[in-house]
Every structure is written in C-alpha cells, then in structure tokens.
Symmetry: C2
Subunit: 252 residues, 2 copies
C-alpha cells in the first residue's frame, strides 16, 4: 500500500526540497521504493539530484501530453526515482484552472504508478496556490518542515487552515503526518524558544528527530548528491536517516 | 523624485522581507521618507514591524475598494510608513487577472502617493507570478537578495529572464539596481565559492555591502522591531546601514 506524502509549507526556504531529497534517499537506503515528484516550478528537487529537467516533466503530465510513466527518471540510487519539473509548470497553474476536476489531476496521474512504490514524496512550492492544492489533494499525509524562526512559526496557522479546507472539500483522508523542526541551531535562544513553543502548541504532532543546521546539507546539492552519498557521517545525513526510521516505525 | 525599488527573488527564504524591513528602517534613519509595500500574502513585512494587517490592505487597494492613502500605516519610525497585506492578497492574483491593465494596478495606485516619499520598497513573494509582475511593472529598479547557496544561485537566471520580459513588455526603465549577498557565513567554503561565482558572473552588479548571517536579524521581527532598533551594534544592523549609505552614494 503506497503512502503519498506532500512536503509543504508556504514559507520560503524552510527546507522542503532538502527534506524531499534526503528523506527520499534515506527511505531508499532502507530499501523502500520511493518516487519523488517535484511540484515546484523552481525545479530544485531534480537539480539537487543532478537531473536535467528535459521534457516530459510534471507539466506535460498535468496537461495530458505525457503519462507519469514517461516522466519518471532513475537517480543514482536504485530505489529512488524522480519526476522533474521546470519553469513551464507555472503555465499549468494558469492553464488547468477552471477545467473540470483540475484539483485532482495529480492524484489521478499518480494512481497509474502507485503499485510500483512504497512511498511517494511531493515537493511543494513556497505558496498555497493551485500546485500545492493539487499535491494536498493527491496526498495521504502532509509533512511540514518548520524552520525554527519567527516568520516560519507565524505562517503555520494559515498552512493548517489550508490543509483543513482541502480535507473538507477534496481529500477527507488528508492529515498532518508531523511537523519537522529544521535548520535547528542549538547555540541560539531563538531556535530553542521556537522549538519549545511548537512542541507546546502542536504536542504529539512534532517528530522527535530534529534536523540541525549543517552546511553539508547545503553543499550536497551542488554535487548533485543526497547528503547520504555526499557525507554519510554528517549530522545532516544522520538526521534524515533517523527521520526515515522514525517514520517507518511509527504510525505516520 | 521618488525611486521605487522591488525586492524580488522567486527562491524562498533568501532575505527579501528582512532586507525590505531593515533597508527601509536604515534609509529612514538617514532621514529619507520611505514607504514599504508588502506585496506578499504571507504578510511578513507588517508582521515584522508589529503591525496588524487589518483591512484596508494592499488587496483592497488593488481591487479598487480603497485608495493607497487609506491603506498606509505609520510605524515606530518617523520616516517609515507601510502598506500591509494579508492572505486575502491571494484572491487578487485570481480576481484581477484578465482585467484590462491588471499588470499596472500597483503602478497606478502608487502614483497617487509618490510625492510624499523619497524611496518606495516593494517586498515580493517567493514566486514569479502576477503579484511579482505587478511589482516589477511599478518599480524603477530591482534589488535581488541572494543567499550564498546553490539553489539560490541556480534560480538567478530565471529571475533575470523575467525581469527582461517585464522590461520589454511593461516597463522599459526597469533595471537591476544590484545583487545583495545575504546570510553570508564566512566560515563556510560554500558561501565564499558562491560569492566569488556571483561577482564573476555579474561583475559590477553586486553591492559591496554583504549581509552576514546574524541571529539578531532573525530575532528582531519577533519583537516587532527593525534590527536597528533591536540591536544597533549588531553586524546585521551595521550591514543594512552600510547598504543604505552605499545606495544613497551610488547611482543605484
Ligand atoms: N538543515 C540545514 N542546514 C543547513 N542548510 C540547509 C538545511 N536545510 C536546507 N538548507 C539549505 O537552505 C536553503 C533552503 O533550503 P530548501 O531550498 O530546501 O528550502 P525550501 O523550503 O525547499 O525552499 P523554497 O521555499 O524556495 O522551495 C538551501 O540552500 C538548502 O541547501
Ligand atoms: N542575514 C541573516 N542572518 C540570519 N537570519 C536571517 C538573515 N536574513 C534573514 N534571516 C532570517 O531567515 C529567514 C528568512 O528570511 P526572510 O523571511 O526575510 O526571507 P524571504 O526571502 O522574505 O522569505 P520568503 O521567500 O518566504 O518571502 C527569516 O526567519 C529571517 O529572520
Ligand atoms: Mg524547495
Ligand atoms: Mg518574505
């Protein structure tokens, strides 16, 4: 039974793509078959794995010019495959709005390949627009990366409201699988204060695993590698392996 | 003669809002009359100054329900005023597309108040959608905050292409006032490598001032204060004062 997880937060730069790539690689290292779908026109998920976003990409799939199968690419890891995206995806936001059932286009496209994977990860753009709604409609759960800083914390309320709206109108199964604290710098009071506030407000919904601020995570994509392949001993790699194990062990 | 500067980069979390608030405050401290317009539905520019985004906000201005004058709010600093925004702004993206001249709505709204300010700063969302296009059509120049990391560097090409398209179709005066290196951590090779690459590729277009990674910049908005008011001696405050002086001294 495949589990589809959207990695979403409209706040920019909180570690969505870094989590999509490295959680995907960690699950693949633990022999789960993983598909990573880049739902962001920036195309950073594919770029971070050194994959050129030549068509067919997610854009061609959403407008019906290619099947999802045709857009799937292998990566350097046996159990990790990816559907890339590119700037053309911005066009889909405009083109398919208003078409009947546009919110479920991604969901129906994924149904054709569901049997081949244990986990499907959807990397969302920094917005609550149509592409994120498509991803939330297609997902079973939402993993919310949360940078331990003020603006990121303030934005959580609006994200949870959007998730609730999608639950009510499009996808009653949708739930938050967990909030992941990212870029945690234990030397600062700010990180400690925000982490404490999040665990109080959202008790029971925050992953035990915390991803520390670790420059290896920022260096790895420039080599086209997940951090596991770039520097397995780094705190960043260890954190995403721990997260993968926590997710496999728990109900999430 | 007012100068309107859009602070834009579709990459999320690179310091757009932090630059809008703190450059605005630094220019105000140097006795320039500054208007800060929040063009991002996240509403972080107002939030970082402790201002509640009650209507009328930018949304009411763009759909014609309020004048810009009615939406302008004072801040704690004499020479700094702000037009807040909120989640309703997402509605404007959908509502005014297709209306005649929708790309110039912000530009014509700003014309009514231009005489009262020396500088108008437009804080853009992490996207190249309609709100960013409105801001680029309204601006004389674009300041591009660039985090010294791989994904941010890769996204520059697409941003410059968008700026060129707006130049050709909507606003021939538009030019890049400069690229601002942000969150620079001199301890990492990554920051040094990216900074060197940017200065080579975009020689002559990069500000001398570099904004270091400085936790005071991340703490200040939780107190509703620009960093100048929160901790004037901090490296973050000194960097934005230096940037303000560099901008006033140069042609930019
Ligand atoms: N734990 C971490 N420690 C250090 N750097 C990190 C960490 N996580 C992510 N980064 C770096 O921070 C930047 C932002 O991360 P990333 O691009 O993954 O965020 P995002 O939420 O996907 O951004 P966007 O909103 O633009 O999609 C990137 O340069 C990334 O390499
Ligand atoms: N130089 C810096 N040093 C340390 N922290 C910083 C610095 N600049 C910004 N920050 C913090 O990093 C985070 C991202 O910055 P900010 O929100 O200003 O970026 P943005 O580009 O406006 O993001 P978005 O794409 O979501 O609009 C914020 O929590 C901010 O407080
Ligand atoms: Mg991303
Ligand atoms: Mg911002």
């Amino acid at each position: 039974m495949v589990r589809t997880i959207a990695i979403a937060n409209q706040k920019g730069g909180v570690g969505k793509t870094t989590t999509a790539i490295n959680l995907g690689a960690a699950l693949a290292a633990l022999e789960r078959r993983v598909l990573l779908v880049d739902c962001d026109a920036q195309g950073n998920a594919a770029r971070g794995l050194g994959i050129d976003p030549e068509p067919p990409t997610l854009y061609e799939v959403l407008i019906g010019e290619a099947t999802l199968n045709q857009a799937v690419r292998p990566t350097l890891m046996a159990c990790l495959e990816i559907v890339p995206s590119s700037r053309t995806l911005v066009g889909a936001e405009v083109e398919f709005v208003g078409l009947d059932g546009w919110q479920r286009r991604l969901r129906s496209a994924l149904e054709h390949v569901a049997g081949r994977y244990d986990t499907i990860l959807l990397d969302c753009p920094p917005s609550l627009g149509h592409l994120t709604v498509n991803a939330l409609a297609a997902a079973d759960g939402v993993l919310v990366p949360l940078q331990c800083e003020y603006f990121a914390l303030e934005g959580i309320k609006e994200l949870l409201q959007t998730i609730q709206r999608v639950q009510q109108n499009l996808n009653p199964e949708l739930h938050v699988t967990g909030i992941l604290l990212t870029m945690y710098d234990e030397r600062t009071n700010l990180a400690r204060d925000v982490a404490r506030e999040v665990r109080t407000h959202f008790s029971g919904q925050v992953y035990d695993t915390i991803v520390p601020r670790n420059v290896r995570l920022a260096e790895a994509p420039s080599h086209g590698l997940p951090v596991l392949n770039y520097d397995i001993r780094s705190r960043g790699a260890q954190a995403y392996l721990a997260l993968a194990r926590e997710m496999l062990a728990g109900a999430v």
